[in-house]
């Protein structure tokens, strides 16, 4: 028997409200099934189970707000269903946050603050912690995107609108591939120890309508084709804004990418999202002067930046990471 607990969907989450059960006692659960919808500071999230089993008993009623780590349901291990010995030791669980619920994160008042103000609160907590604890260093470089933009335009010209790829997808893929060579930037702090995460799950920062943002994971980003990545990005963006993200999408990122696309400012120097150790930022892609062979030309350029945790890496390696991203973008056909 294992307990399904209120998951932690980010270092800043203290509690969540169980909005709806999507399975009933007796239901068989496969790994990845959505068991419940939980309202968090980041919106309503579909929470997945990590092990197959049979839903035995619901412990928390719909509409209840509970601290992270609170048991929500009991799940019978699927391997023990043939002969369910009542006193079998609990099967291995997806370590439901060794961290005990923070003091004071008890039941919330009957009229919780508005969604927008909770998102604000949650971002404030994570970013204040980031600036307090993480010794950031910042690097940036300008990348010539002419080859990438030209290659993409030719590719898109032959495609229906639904299958066109945005430049941001190339930036994501190049970043993910570069992380293969510089894995120390795809990592999280775990009990004061740096845990490198391979493969990298790049988290895309997505602005929410009405304010705030979420970081949504693109699992094993480097393994996805540009087409798959585009489909996922559109799906994630749509669900982050109007629908629902899944728990794994909120909790699994190992590095964040923030990309301003074709609007916005020239460069972004990010604030790292704890417990991650790096954030890659791409400013607006725009035509600007570029010197090539002694001549000034107008070219589509992007300023790529790295905000990294100096406890986990040094500027030299950070510079090489940005250089690797640059080189990968010069051969878009290989992405």
């Amino acid at each position: 028997m294992s307990e399904f607990r209120m998951p932690s969907l980010g270092a800043d989450m203290e509690a969540g409200t169980l909005v709806a059960w999507q399975k009933a006692p007796g239901d068989r659960l496969a790994k990845g099934d959505t068991i419940a919808a939980v309202d968090t500071d980041k919106g309503v999230i579909d929470v997945e189970v990590f092990h197959p089993g049979i839903l035995e008993e619901l412990l928390v009623a719909e509409g209840t707000r509970v601290p992270v780590g609170t048991p929500l349901a009991r799940i019978r291990d699927i391997s023990s269903t043939a002969t369910p010995p009542p006193s079998q030791p609990a099967p291995e669980e997806p370590a439901p946050d060794e961290t005990t619920p923070p003091v004071g994160a008890g039941l919330q008042p009957a009229h919780p603050p508005s969604h927008a103000s909770r998102i604000r609160h949650s971002i404030a907590a994570a970013m204040a912690r980031s600036n307090r604890e993480i010794p950031h260093y910042f690097l940036w470089t300008t990348i010539d995107l002419a080859p990438a933009v030209r290659w993409l335009a030719a590719l898109n010209a032959e495609r229906p609108i639904d299958h066109r790829i945005l430049p941001g997808v190339l930036l994501l893929k190049a970043t993910a591939l570069a992380l293969g060579e510089f894995p120390e930037f795809s990592a999280v702090w775990e009990n004061d120890r740096l845990a490198i995460r391979r493969p990298a799950h790049v988290g895309q920062a997505i602005a929410l309508r009405g304010g705030g943002l979420v970081v949504a994971a693109l699992h094993d980003t480097a393994s996805l084709s540009l087409d798959d990545l585009m489909v996922r990005l559109r799906d994630l963006t749509g669900r982050a804004r109007t629908g629902r993200l899944k728990s794994g999408e909120l909790s699994d990122s190992t590095i964040t990418v923030t990309s301003l696309g074709d609007r916005g400012v020239e460069a972004v120097l990010g604030v790292i999202y704890p417990p991650q150790v790096a954030l890659v930022g791409f400013g607006r892609i725009a035509e600007r002067p570029w010197v090539s062979d002694g001549r000034v030309e107008a070219r589509p350029l992007v300023t790529a930046s790295l905000a990294a945790d100096h406890r986990a890496s040094d500027g030299h390696r950070g510079g090489l990471l940005l250089e690797a991203i640059d080189q990968l973008l010069q051969k878009p056909e290989d992405l």
Binding site: P160, I161, L166, G168, R209, R234, G238, R241, T242
Partner: protein, 91 residues
């Protein structure tokens, strides 16, 4: 009924294109009130649509109105008026 005010020349019956735009945008920017957006205003700025939103918008519009959008036109369909001109023109 008062005859003092001309019945607030309220928005002429929405064209099919405008209805399509409203329907698609409802799934992308649900809080947006299209009646307050001038026809020549840039939708991306007006409704704060990023490049992924805009791609979702155009894809949805192409599907809703049953007409493909060539790559060299897509970047120009940033206003309600431009969308109407494109979709109302015979293919």
């Amino acid at each position: 009924m008062s005859d003092s005010e001309p019945a607030a020349e309220s928005a002429p019956a929405a064209s099919p294109v405008r209805r399509g735009i409203a329907k698609v945008l409802a799934g992308i920017a649900p809080e947006a009130d299209l009646t307050t957006v001038p026809p020549e205003a840039n939708l991306r700025q007006e409704l704060d649509l990023d490049s992924v939103d805009f791609q979702n918008f155009l894809s949805g519009l192409a599907k809703a109105l049953g007409r493909e959008i060539p790559a060299d036109v897509a970047g120009d369909l940033t206003t309600i008026a431009a969308c109407e001109r494109f979709f109302e023109k015979p293919a």
